[in-house]
Symmetry: C2
Subunit: 388 residues, 2 copies
């Protein structure tokens, strides 16, 4: 697939060479990190080195990093009643933004009647007044707000939300899965009580993720019990190779972040300008701060699935909204929350770039788009679907 | 570590070359299996090929295989109230054998007051009369019985237990994690309603496992929600490389099972005969059917931790009971359930062999044991601990 152009990095990034090397080394070991012999201690060392790398990437303490099997497990693990600051009461309800990932919207271990959602603006940014109204004068809540949206790329006002949450006695969880490696990330600057991360969005392998706890958070309870691993916070033999790959990827991703981000933003902006040659072009969240690598767009009458298949046949991998729901054709809940009609929301196509995206890739994508618009937008609905 | 002898296969087996190759190929892909483009479809294909391989290994249907992050997640996932046959009522309590893995003893999603344990004989075999007594005339239960014990290797009377469980209207879960690849495994012969499996015990990678459901089982509910993966039974982007490695390993392990098992049993028996030269030698479960690769032994006055360290310094990786509790020094709950005194239980050392174990490895191990017994068993308790 060497002549393919991959523009679906927000779904899964290709594995970084650093991660591949770390995984190959880990796979050559035969130890269980819980074993006391030399083989076990070698495996343990790789896990702890990765833990230090992940902690360092978000300016947390290694002992507060809990490895999981990915972002979804991390989100489900943290979303539970009873989390509290050492002095405060436990939080018994969950408040989420309406644009969270499905694994957050599902509410983890909260019962559905204890979950409420806060809206976003038409730009896809959390409405802080709505957040305040959802918290003021009510029992303290666990609040879950993503740092950057996976579909639009819109960066959320997390430090501002943190002040509101903490003033109301609540706990803040920040799903930083799409933000990690794309923008600077410091748990202290965000004032988050819990962060969740995923390896495969930053060039680590699928199957590894982490929860990062702020120092002093109380009431954390494992989802997987029956083993002392991860200081009793996540039972089960560690995915040593996956964790080692995660550690190597996070080092690589955060080490070159400022260079990569500037370059990607330049390419992204050029791609966006090209797309805007199409009349009626809508780029979502283009009036707010976005991840430097993401474009979510549509034009009237576009059907996203048809466009994704058209791009694919032209050798270009793109996505219609998020890839997490296994081929289900549903309008994006993110765009619905932003107030767009279902018809518009069903037409949204996501282009997401990464460190190996080249200027030639951008040209290829724009060429393909020009060809596609010729067929996609001129025909009637009926003939369009037949063409692919 | 090429001059080391690894005899801790029940903790983690070295990665099989077939699994390494499958993982390398998977890691070269960049697709998310939920994406519809060519990269996504390639990743999806690897997952589905592995699913077919796992299903075939236990004679189940591919659609009834649910991939997880490992054996612990698989066990926690299946242990939930409400499982039922299509015609029966839901099971609202859990009955486990006293020698189950800690992830089963923890009881998954059952509240502690709904969990009861059934004892084993001094040979480490489930007491079927006790099982009958725990079920007869009581509300139907989910019953969890391992196929082979991870510490002693004792094979459990699962088909017999299945008849008792089903006659009482219950559901049978079989933790087959240590048995897979070591003895023949057929979900239909076992009459199990649920099986759990793990990749890293058979030469696949750490971080992959599976639940296998019998056709028609009702009441299964995901632990990780928020995504349509695994037919809605386990949300989260699939660990494609880990799953591909699992698939390759299970094919390799079951393909050569009858040859491997015979060879391993020969080596194991020679090792055991050698150990028996030590006076007072106790080999646990030696009067019942065991896995062909496992020896759990002790001699009076032996301290397992000291022995494990002694073996390690002699270049041999062995274990004191299970490795799943992260270095905690506790007497084996398995030997306690078998009626052995804590003092004996704290002295148990496990030797477990695998496909690359050689006759020379057995010689090295016996040499090391003879040297160790010279120091471990002649000295007083005080000087023994100082020596290592």
């Amino acid at each position: 697939m060497s002549d393919r152009v991959y523009l679906d990095w927000n779904a899964t990034a290709p594995l970084r060479s650093e991660a591949r090397a770390a995984m190959a080394a880990a796979l050559d070991l035969s130890g269980n990190p819980s074993s006391v012999h030399a083989e076990g201690r070698q495996a343990r060392r790789l896990v702890e080195e990765a833990r230090a790398a992940v902690a360092n990437a978000v300016r947390a303490l290694p002992r507060n990093v809990v490895f999981t099997s990915g972002g979804t497990e991390a989100n489900v693990l943290v979303l539970k009643p009873g989390l509290r600051h050492s002095t405060g009461p436990g939080t018994e309800r969950l408040v989420v933004s309406a644009i969270e990932h499905p694994s957050v919207l599902a509410g983890g271990r909260f019962s559905p009647d204890m979950i409420s959602a806060v809206g976003v603006t038409r730009s896809g940014v959390l409405d802080l007044d709505q957040l305040r109204a959802a918290l003021d004068g009510k029992p303290p809540a666990l609040v879950s707000i993503m740092l950057a949206n996976n579909e639009t790329g819109a960066v959320q006002p997390v430090p501002e939300a943190a002040e509101i949450v903490h003033a109301a006695g609540g706990i803040l969880h920040v799903d930083a899965i799409q933000a990690l490696g794309k923008i600077a990330l410091d748990i202290n600057v965000l004032k988050a009580d819990l962060l969740t991360l995923s390896a495969h969005k930053i060039g680590g392998p699928q199957g590894a993720g982490a929860v990062v706890l702020a120092e002093g958070l109380q009431g954390f309870e494992p989802l997987l019990r029956g083993g002392g691993q991860e200081l009793g916070r996540r039972a089960g033999t560690e995915n040593v190779a996956g964790i080692a790959g995660f550690g190597a990827a996070v080092k690589a991703a955060t080490g070159t972040l400022s260079d990569d981000a500037g370059r990607l933003e330049g390419l992204r902006n050029r791609l966006e300008q090209g797309l805007r040659q199409t009349s009626g072009m809508i780029v979502f969240s283009d009036d707010t701060k976005r991840l430097p690598n993401t474009i979510l767009f549509t034009v009237p009458r576009l059907k996203a699935e048809t466009a994704v298949i058209g791009f694919d046949l032209a050798g270009i991998a793109v996505s219609s909204g998020s890839a997490c729901s296994s081929g289900k054709v549903q309008p994006s809940h993110v765009l619905e929350a932003m107030g767009f009609d279902p018809e518009i929301a069903q037409g949204a196509v996501r282009l997401s770039l990464g460190w190996s995206t080249s200027s030639a890739d951008i040209n290829r994508c724009l060429e393909a788009w020009r060809t596609l618009t010729g067929s996609l937008l001129k025909d009637s609905d009926e003939t369009r679907l037949e063409r692919f």
